[in-house]
């Protein structure tokens, strides 16, 4: 149990460091780093504050706190992926609209040029 908590704590810290470096190098935009940082902080707090993990296990009705930690990890990352699906869908819609608009504008420009 203690080893699992330590590993989770180390992985959470590593995730925070990796994301902060990526943000600093402009590999991830700040607004998209929030989900990862939030997920990492939640896992860090759960793995470092045993009473919180026990409380979560009690709320979820799970007798085994490590199982509650795995459940929480799964839930947190599910939320992160869901958020990124929303962002991706929005970006795809925007890309399609922009591609169509660009094609139409190019069409108008070519039409005007050939009319001259």
């Amino acid at each position: 149990m203690d080893r699992l908590l330590t590993v989770t704590m180390v992985l959470s810290l590593a995730l925070i460091v990796v994301v902060l470096i990526a943000v600093r190098r402009a590999h991830i935009r700040v607004e998209y780093s929030v989900s990862w940082l939030g997920a990492a902080v939640i896992l860090l707090v759960l793995s470092s504050e045993r009473w919180l993990l026990d409380g979560l296990a009690g709320v979820l009705g799970i007798g085994d706190p490590p199982l509650a930690l795995l459940f929480a990890t799964f839930g947190v990352f599910l939320l992160v992926f869901y958020r990124f699906s929303l962002i991706l869908s929005h970006l795809k819609d925007a890309n399609i609209a922009l591609t169509q608009r660009l094609a139409i504008l190019e069409y108008h420009v070519r039409s005007q040029q050939s009319a001259k």
């Binding site: 591609t99 660009l102 094609a103 139409i104 190019e106 039409s111």
Partner: protein, 243 residues
């Protein structure tokens, strides 16, 4: 192509992706049948000479800088047609499967009926020759599914030979399904309380190239469209209305 405002203005749109083997012939046929109509080929970022051959055959070409797939490609054509003021738009495939001699029939029904959409159906006169087993199965499934949703039967829900009037054009230029759009487009129309009609049309073998719909894709197609239909039924329109 200049903006047009005539009450009978017609644009024939031909979405094309790597159709250099057929697009010139299709454009030539359309121009022969309807010399007064505008012909627009929407080139979905083809890697071959589709755009050049379409221009050579006398069509206007709308070239997409990225490959968008059929729905995005057709919607680009609808958007341009709407901006240019066309009253009627008829879409035919760029592979030569649709016979342009059927276009006047579709146009006449569009003009005379109060329908917003007219579908060129290959099944009204019993032609099943050019449909694979899986696709045929999918079509039967969608007929069953769409009947209660649309409140009436539709014989050929996957037909890409489709005419729309300006009302439907306004809707589709704002919202049009991306992949395999034909069936979902019917649901979009139904949600607007629009009407459609089917007219019998001939279907010919492809002039060149191969269909992108393989057996595996047919299964994906069925699942994708099933999901798309239900999503369109449930779709929340508030955000779109606001924008």
């Amino acid at each position: 192509m200049k903006p047009v405002a005539g009450p009978h203005s017609l644009l024939v749109i031909i979405p094309a992706f790597n159709e250099e083997g057929a697009v010139g012939f299709v454009v030539g046929e359309v121009r022969q049948v309807l010399p007064q109509a505008g012909v627009l080929v929407i080139d979905d970022c083809s890697a071959d000479s589709t755009a050049d051959l379409a221009r050579l055959a006398g069509a206007e070409v709308l070239s997409l800088p990225y490959h968008l797939g059929l729905g995005g490609c057709v919607q680009a054509g609808y958007k341009l047609a709407f901006e240019l003021g066309y009253q009627y738009v008829i879409r035919i495939d760029g592979d030569g499967q649709h016979d342009p001699r059927d276009i006047p029939k579709i146009l006449a029904v569009l003009q005379e009926s109060r329908c917003q959409m007219v579908i060129g159906s290959r099944f009204l006169e019993g032609d099943h020759n050019h449909t694979s087993f899986l696709r045929g199965l999918g079509i039967r499934l969608f007929r069953l599914l769409l009947r209660p949703i649309l409140g009436r039967p539709v014989r050929d829900p996957t037909s890409g030979f489709v005419g729309v009037n300006r009302q439907a054009l306004a809707v589709f230029s704002r919202s049009f399904p991306l992949e395999y759009p034909e069936i979902e487009a019917l649901v979009v129309l139904q949600r607007k309380a629009f009407r459609f009609q089917e007219v019998p049309c001939r279907m010919r073998p492809r002039r060149a190239g191969r269909s992108t719909i393989t057996a595996m894709r047919s299964i994906y197609f069925i699942l994708h469209v099933l999901l798309g239909v239900f999503v369109n039924i449930l779709k929340y329109e508030g955000r779109r209305r606001k924008s």
